[in-house]
Amino acid sequence: MDELTKVVRDYVIREYLEEGDDREITETTPLISGGIVDSFSMVSLRRFLEKKYSIHIPDDAATPQAFDTVKSIVALVRRFQNAELKSA
């Protein structure tokens, strides 16, 4: 598991997984549709990613689909990391 994936997964487990929820969080575990992260909590997750990786995620990219798995979140971060590099 690469570092970015690990950071995202660990943050999700630490901040959003209920203490008594014994589900394993993999790269493809549904987070929004699985009820682990709801659409209101997405804002704090987005804020964490933007701060941690010095990126800006536009509103139209911050969809429940984009935040539904660790894998899709990592893809989202990489997309906007690349965008930041290109504009630098």
Binding site: G20, P30, S39, S44
Partner: protein, 566 residues
């Protein structure tokens, strides 16, 4: 009568006794919502009819006939009686949208106890306030949520039983007991407690502009209006497949996610999953849903995905669409006409009304953006905020008010009779919202009349958020106000002044946001925090949220003569 009946036909000679006769209720006799939604349907020959098709986010499915929910609600009722639960005691349901939540609701009511459903995403502070105020005797929950109860049980001396429905082999702690619905010996016959019309049934907590959330006490007679409005507004017919995606932790999920459909003998489907456009559309397609009761937030999220995402699926089964929680903007009505081939019908009501009070009835011409007209039997108007007299002037905004006396009208606020009485002025019940009425009698929503934040169709009280913010070490003072949001209509925004030694930063903002999310709920979490040196106050030191709200909505602030100069 034509079908669907014209509004005028329905209002002519309307009486709530129509619902009483159809439900077989004799005034003065016993009436129990739990039995009305299960035993009664079996007695009508619907024992083998599918009552509930449940599916989780992984696609696991469970099916329950009306006889299943009759027997399983008996089983839960029997279990509760075995624990010593007495009529009138409060029993909380604190679960995800699992079958035990829906069936447990009926089981509690069959014992004569009061069902107190709470949103499973509530944090321990939200839970403590509501369980403490209600002096709840028992809570039915899941192992993933029991840790929150464990954290606060020391502050809840009246909480005798913590019932875990999926404990399995998990070690239990003090006051905890396991109950597995699918393994408990089934109870075929249960002596339903003879509740009467005014016996307390459901206690729903709702946020207000001042103080902590209030427990809106409903009674068993409320089923009369919940049954009839479900039938007429949601157009429920015997062969329908109905989906209400509201959580039973909120009043929509009980009035129209349990009582409405099941008292009408309808098959309903439940998807225990967060929002996912594709998943939701697949569910509608698979179940052949005919009537869908949803919310503007969900509709706007679907709009973001685009019409194509909807059209990829065969949703031709959908016959009637309705919406609740916040005003349905005209763009959403137009979009649904394009995407689904039919419009969402807006409905207006609240925890205290217990049922839909203003709506766009099937067959009634829809004016996109309008709440619709009062349901037959409901007298609604808008009042002058100074005199509390009906305005009788088309297009002029006033306070939405209802003439008291409909079956599901809230009977009181638990332990807060004074707060309850304050909701009535000049013989009218005040909803707390503002609207205007057009010359055709359609109501047009203008906004809240107070500081309550309506986010995603759920009310959040600023006091609760501000109290939790004061629990953050860095926070000196705070004000929680509504901020406009394109998806949720409003979200919570907090203005915060910091204690000496603390400096504003992105890290601190995120820390505070997560603190509120964990302690209260994701709904109450400020989606933005603005650090300020000081908050606007009156000369007596009271924070004036109105000024901050007006700033967020780009509205004029009005009279500032009472505000401190600094």
């Amino acid at each position: 009568m034509t079908y669907p009946p014209a509004y005028q036909e329905l209002t002519t000679k309307f009486e709530w006794a129509i619902g009483e006769r159809e439900l077989g209720y004799k005034p003065g006799g016993p009436i129990n919502i739990g039995a009305m939604c299960s035993d009664r349907l079996c007695n009508l020959g619907l024992a083998k009819k599918l009552a509930l098709l449940w599916e989780d986010y992984q696609g696991n499915e469970k099916r329950f006939t009306y006889d299943d929910i009759r027997v399983l609600s008996n089983t839960i009722a029997h279990f509760l009686c075995g624990l010593g639960i007495q009529p009138g005691e409060r029993v909380c349901l604190f679960m995800d949208r699992v079958p035990e939540l829906y069936i447990g609701f009926l089981g509690i009511l069959k014992t004569g106890a009061v069902a107190q459903p709470l949103f499973s995403a509530f944090g321990e502070e939200s839970l403590l306030v509501r369980l403490g105020d209600a002096e709840t005797s028992a809570i039915i929950t899941q192992k993933k949520h029991v840790h929150k109860v464990r954290q606060i049980r020391g502050h809840l001396p009246k909480l005798r039983h913590i019932i875990v429905v999926d404990a399995g082999g998990t070690p239990l702690q003090e006051r905890e007991v396991s109950f597995q619905m699918d393994q408990a010996p089934r109870v075929g016959q249960f002596p339903v407690y003879p509740t009467t019309a005014e016996s307390p049934s459901v206690l729903h907590y709702t946020s207000g502009t001042t103080g902590q959330p209030k427990g809106a006490q409903h009674v068993h007679y409320s089923i009369i209006s919940q049954y009839l409005t479900a039938k007429w507004v949601l157009d429920l017919r015997p062969d329908d497949i109905y989906w209400c995606n509201a959580d039973p932790g909120w009043v929509t999920g009980t009035s129209y996610g349990i009582i409405g459909p099941w008292s009408n003998g309808i098959t309903q489907v439940v998807l225990d999953s967060g929002f996912n456009a594709k998943r939701w559309c697949q569910f509608i397609e698979k179940c052949r849903v005919t009537v869908w009761y949803s919310a503007p937030t969900a509709i706007r999220l679907l709009m973001k995905e685009g019409e194509e995402a909807v059209r990829e699926h065969d949703l031709s089964s959908l016959r009637h669409l309705a919406s609740v929680g916040e005003p349905l903007n005209p763009e959403a009505v137009a979009w649904s006409q394009r995407a689904f081939g039919k419009p969402f019908h807006d409905t207006f009501w609240q925890t205290e009304t217990g049922c839909i009070v203003i709506s766009n009835l099937p067959g009634m011409p829809i004016k996109p953006g309008s709440m619709g007209k009062p349901f037959p039997g409901i007298t609604a108007t808008v009042l002058d905020p100074k005199t509390y007299e009906p305005l009788n002037q088309p297009g002029v905004a006033g306070l939405i008010a209802l003439r008291p006396g409909w079956p599901s009208q809230v009977r009181t606020y638990w332990n807060n009779e004074a707060g309850f009485k304050a909701k009535f002025k000049n013989g009218w019940y005040l909803c707390g919202d503002r609207a205007s009425i057009d010359p055709d009698g359609y109501f047009w929503f203008m906004g809240r009349d107070d500081d309550v934040i309506n986010t995603g169709g759920h009310l959040v009280g600023p006091f609760e958020v501000e109290s939790a913010l004061l629990g953050c070490p860095a926070v000196a003072e705070s004000a929680a106000v509504a901020k406009p949001d394109p998806v949720n209509m409003e979200v919570v925004k907090a203005y915060v002044s910091l204690k000496p030694g603390f400096k504003p930063s992105d890290d601190l903002e995120l820390e505070i946001m997560n603190h509120i999310r964990r302690r209260l709920s994701p709904l109450a979490m400020p989606q933005e925090i603005e650090f300020v040196d000081c908050l606007p106050k009156t000369r007596s030191g009271k924070i004036v949220r109105r000024i901050l709200r007006c700033k967020e909505f780009n509205e004029p602030v009005g009279d500032l003569s009472t505000i401190m100069d600094d």
